[in-house]
């Protein structure tokens, strides 16, 4: 693009078109004082400090003056100096921040401006300061708000509105009393603030400041270890501790944004409850032991239980390298294919379903394309809670005029951005989506050419739509058909359209059908293989995509290469120099069933907490009691680890090197910031040590880089991936060779199926396995909180997160509550056919009548004792999203 030449302070500079004079100056290292300007926000022009003199024109603020050819600017003429001095003096006089100290924050803009203008204390003394002192709002556990230090620049208000789109704060009151206020002027912790901290990071005066403020001595670039979005961040290290987290602006996933967990949820790393040495259970008690002794016990026992008596549950929290080694160990050393991990409990139907229809079971498109879509169908995903940074993309799209369709049994936060909200009954997704497709087919909104050239099986699919007539769809989903039809028309007409989904689609006894319905919908309208289209499953754990890719699954090696294909098995046998079992192993829930039936006798469990996370968790507990030998490898003594025979202390993500693969298939580098705590070791070292102790070959790795080399040599989709190439922004698989740039969009030319065609799947509606009846009259569903992650092993060890959300609530509609005679905040009893718990009720119209919901973050109220472990026949995922319960008043 051609540049513009202008002159600032007699220095000729070149600038891009369409930027402001202030931006041009800052880019060229010319400082113009400013407070209300922030590069991420729209220009406000309220602080007036950036005034400049433009030749032959009036004085003007440079932040909202666009560059023009030949502009002659002076930033420090005597007149400006005088004006600017008065402006800053008035601001500082109103500011009670203990001048000249001004603020504790490192790079307070106000301090910088004051220093630049050379404020003289005796000149300030002549001005009268404020008469009122406003109490500091300390209600949020992570930051404080001191209105006395606020100069009303509005950066926080704009950040909350423009970037987070939460609009928790605004300017309230008038004149002298104006202040930044929450709704009804309440403490920030009682507002709808998400505690993301974006405003705190941008506050130029220290009015908003983090409570824990320690300056890091060095920073390590890495990837967040909470959800599957995979945000880039810098861990600030001081001594042996992580003291801060800063978003990585250059990361293509989050562009510097972080959510509350990412930014403030790091205290678990240095938590005193971290496991620091191996533990061996003797006479029912854990005794600290040396690594030598623990490994001896493990190898002795493992040697007895080789083959089908052995199972491993790997971890979606561990790195790719570790997952690869764990499955290699299970298959090559232990001779067992019984390896699985928590993907079974979240996105197994995605892998099964999308592989059938598209040939590849991952997000088809990239995260940063979502914001550019013209229509988004978000079904079964409470994105603001579970994938906060992806929800920003949806909100951006909405702001840019995209049509947003939200389909969810509950009225989630995103509904306020939606054009249509389809509040369907839990488990009726197939009926809803097929109803939409019927409208698209009947109104001929589908793309016949695309279907003819790129898809197959359309006719039999079309026939199966016959069952989904208006009456049936309305009755099954509980949604007015005209809304479904409207949604169908929006989805088909506003292209590119993209589909996002998560657990609401997958965690059903017919989860695979649900997934197939989404892929049918995408193919029907040619919304696949192009930017901002596709079917996009939002993966849960930080590395659940990677753990699947690495073959921590019972039926495939790394890169989804099937164990029962002789030529594939041969390749791995040659590489690993051993004989490998040929039939696929058991899945997650089946493994516990086999343990219960005494078929599997030893279990190696890495970084998982099934006692809390597995459906019908009482059954899991009973199964574990029957096991002969149980090893848990984790960073904390979780509820599950307490039942183990040997517990091995693992290193957290901050203490090791490796790679995570995020939900958009982007492989990114995780880098070690501190040494492992105590005697803890990275999981890859532990697995190698066990293998080597068992005299296995092929585990002599001195760093994860060597492991990645082996992965690349055996995995076609990772073939081109090396640590050197991951340095900057990672690579999205498939990456087929060393020069391959990665693949942001799948299925561009052809589908990944063997014949290159997408396969339409005829579907029929199957009700959930358990529906309400007179004894158990409520539909019970599970969801997530923004402030916690999964079984909260990490997040509840962050004090602030536990303050923001420290207790489980049963969400129930006020009308239902009135029927049972319970009030807001009352303890109630919830029972299903499998278990019962006591929990506090929260009356909310977010839940429709007849539906109640809970998260499963709290071990003291283990939600999953209620849920149903009936499996999807294809993907073997339990139906965590729907079961029937009774809710009773406690007398």
């Amino acid at each position: 693009m051609d540049k513009i030449t202008l002159t600032i302070n007699a220095i000729p500079i070149k600038a891009d078109r369409n930027i402001s004079v202030l931006q041009a100056a800052l880019k060229n290292n010319i400082y113009i004082p400013h407070l209300c300007y922030n590069p991420d926000l729209k220009v406000a022009g309220v602080c007036r400090l950036c005034i400049v003199e433009v030749k032959d024109r009036k004085l003007t603020t440079s932040c909202n003056l666009k560059v023009e050819e030949g502009l002659i600017i002076t930033t420090d003429s005597p007149q400006i100096k005088q004006l600017r001095r008065v402006i800053i003096e008035l601001l500082i006089t109103n500011y009670q921040g203990n001048y000249p100290k001004l603020s504790e924050t490192d790079d307070s803009q106000l301090r910088k401006v004051a220093a630049y203008v050379e404020i003289k204390p005796n000149r300030l003394r002549r001005l009268r300061g404020p008469t009122k002192i406003i109490p500091i709002d300390k209600s949020n556990p992570f930051f404080r708000r001191d209105h006395n230090k606020c100069v009303l620049c509005g950066i926080c208000v704009r950040t909350c509105r423009e970037l987070q789109k939460v609009s928790c704060i605004d300017f309230a009151f008038r004149g002298y009393d104006t202040k930044v206020s929450t709704f009804a002027n309440k403490p920030i912790a009682e507002s709808n603030c998400e505690s993301c901290g974006e405003c705190v990071m941008r506050c130029p005066t220290g009015a908003l400041s983090p409570k824990k403020l320690q300056t890091a001595s060095r920073k390590t670039k890495t990837i967040c270890s909470y959800c599957g979005v995979g945000c880039g961040m810098y861990l600030g290290v001081k001594g042996k501790k992580i003291v801060s987290v800063i978003g990585d602006k250059d990361n293509p996933v989050n562009h510097g944004s972080l959510c509350v967990k990412g930014r403030f949820g790091y205290d678990f790393i240095n938590h005193p409850e971290r496991l620091t040495s191996p533990l061996i259970k003797k006479n029912g008690k854990f005794i600290r032991s040396s690594w030598e002794e623990a490994l001896k016990v493990i190898t002795k026992k493992f040697s007895i239980y080789r083959g089908d008596k052995f199972a491993t549950l790997s971890s979606a929290k561990c790195t790719n390298e570790e997952n690869y080694l764990i499955q290699k160990f299970t298959r090559a050393v232990m001779g067992s294919n019984h390896i699985d991990h928590c993907a079974r409990l979240c996105h197994a139907p995605t892998v099964a379903g999308l592989t059938q229809s598209f040939g590849s079971g991952a997000m088809t498109n990239s995260i940063n394309e979502i914001g550019k879509a013209d229509c988004i169908l978000a079904i079964g995903t409470n994105t603001t809670s579970a994938h906060p940074i992806i929800s920003l993309q949806i909100k951006n799209a909405a702001e840019n005029g995209a049509k947003i369709i939200i389909a969810n049994p509950k009225e989630i936060d995103l509904c306020s951005f939606a054009d249509i909200f389809l509040q369907h009954k839990p488990g009726s997704d197939v009926a809803l989506l097929m109803g939409m497709m019927r409208v698209i087919v009947e109104e001929k909104l589908y793309d016949a050419t695309f279907i003819k050239n790129h898809c197959e099986n359309f006719e039999s699919f079309k026939k199966s739509l016959g069952n989904f007539n208006q009456d049936f769809v309305e009755r099954t989903t509980g949604v007015a058909f005209r809304d479904i039809a409207k949604a169908a028309r929006l989805y088909a007409k506003y292209k590119p359209s993209t589909i996002l989904f998560a657990m609401g689609i997958t965690q059903h006894s017919h989860g695979t059908d649900n997934v197939l319905a989404t892929s049918n919908l995408a193919m029907l309208t040619d919304n696949i293989g192009k930017p901002s289209t596709g079917v996009n499953p939002l993966r849960g754990q930080n590395n659940v995509q990677g753990a699947c890719d690495m073959g921590a699954l019972p039926n495939v090696y790394s890169g989804y290469q099937k164990v029962n294909m002789p030529n594939i098995r041969k390749k791995f046998e040659l590489a690993w120099k051993c004989k490998l079992p040929s039939s696929p192993g058991l899945t997650h829930v089946e493994i516990f069933e086999a343990i219960y039936n005494k078929k599997i006798k030893a279990l190696y469990l890495v970084g998982e907490n099934p006692i809390i996370s597995e459906a019908n968790s009482n059954h899991v507990k009973n199964a574990i009691k029957k096991i002969d030998f149980f090893v848990v490898q984790d960073i904390f003594l979780t509820e599950t680890a307490k039942l183990a025979d040997v517990v091995l202390p693992a290193a957290s993500f901050a203490e090791k090197n490796g790679t995570f693969t995020n939900t958009e298939r982007r492989v990114q580098r995780v880098q070690k910031a501190i040494e492992p705590i105590g005697k803890a070791k990275p999981d890859w070292q532990i697995t190698c040590a066990i293998a080597k102790k068992m005299k296995a070959k092929g585990f002599d790795f001195s760093n994860p880089k060597q492991i990645m080399k082996e992965i690349a040599s055996l995995t076609p989709s990772y073939k081109g991936i090396t640590y050197e190439r991951l340095e900057n922004s990672g690579l999205q698989w498939p990456c087929l060779n060393k020069k391959h740039p990665g693949t942001p969009i799948l299925h561009v030319e052809r589908f990944a199926t063997p014949n290159g065609k997408g396969k339409f799947m005829p579907l029929e509606y199957k009700p959930p396995a358990e529906v309400p009846d007179s004894k158990y009259p409520f539909i019970f569903t599970t969801d997530r909180s923004l402030f916690h992650f999964h079984t909260s092993t990490m997040s509840r060890r962050v004090e602030g997160l536990d303050i923001l959300n420290g207790e489980e609530f049963l969400n129930i509609n006020p009308k239902d509550a009135a029927g049972i005679g319970i009030t807001d905040g009352e303890m109630v009893k919830v029972c299903s056919r499998r278990g019962r718990i006591k929990v506090r009720a929260k009356l909310t119209d977010i839940c429709p009548q007849g539906v109640a919901s809970m998260t499963f973050h709290f071990a003291e109220t283990p939600t999953n004792v209620l849920t149903n472990s009936v499996l999807d026949p294809v993907a073997k995922i339990p139906e965590t999203k729907v079961c029937a319960v009774q809710i009773k008043k406690i007398k």
Partner: protein
């Protein structure tokens, strides 16, 4: 109380479309109906118009015409006009605040008294003065204030639902 607000709000909102630019008109009608803007109503208005809650509050607090607490049975208006001011209106106000235990624009928990100040009542000859409902109390001194208000006042009655409630 809450039920009354709920029903009144429903009737008022039924005559609007839910557009952003209707915000101030809706707020005015609510205030007309209830004498103040109940928090519950402001939340519902935010949802109805698609304006953020914080913005509804920002708009409402900008205008002097809106109140955030219900008007008491007896509305006390303290004059701060020039004549009253020079004859000690600030002291009078201070005394009234102390006596009622509330600040300007607030209401006593028993909903008996509410307090506001105005620029001039229009009877400067009687300064310093205040009005209780429509009755003017003239030539006040701090000592006279206590006698104006009923004592002892009954304990706290049914007021607005606590903001810390769980329902949203």
């Amino acid at each position: 109380m809450n039920k009354k607000v709920k029903e009144g709000l429903k009737i008022i909102l039924s005559s609007f479309k839910g557009k952003k630019d209707e915000l101030i008109s809706i707020l005015q009608e609510i205030q007309e109906e209830f004498g103040y803007l109940p928090e519950y109503a402001m939340r519902k208005i935010a949802r109805f118009t698609g304006v953020a809650q914080s913005r509804v509050y920002a708009v409402a607090t900008f205008y002097a015409q809106f109140r955030f607490t219900p008007i008491g049975k007896k509305h006390v208006t303290v004059c701060r006009g020039t004549a009253c001011h020079v004859r000690g209106a600030p002291r009078i106000l201070e005394e009234v605040e102390k006596e009622l235990g509330i600040k300007e624009k607030e209401t006593t928990p028993d909903l008996e008294y509410s307090l506001e100040t105005v620029a001039c009542i229009g009877c400067c000859g009687l300064s310093p003065c205040l009005m209780i409902n429509k009755k003017v109390e003239a030539k006040l001194t701090p000592e006279k204030i206590a006698k104006l208000f009923k004592k002892p006042r009954p304990p706290k009655a049914d007021s607005e639902p606590s903001s810390r409630g769980f329902s949203s």
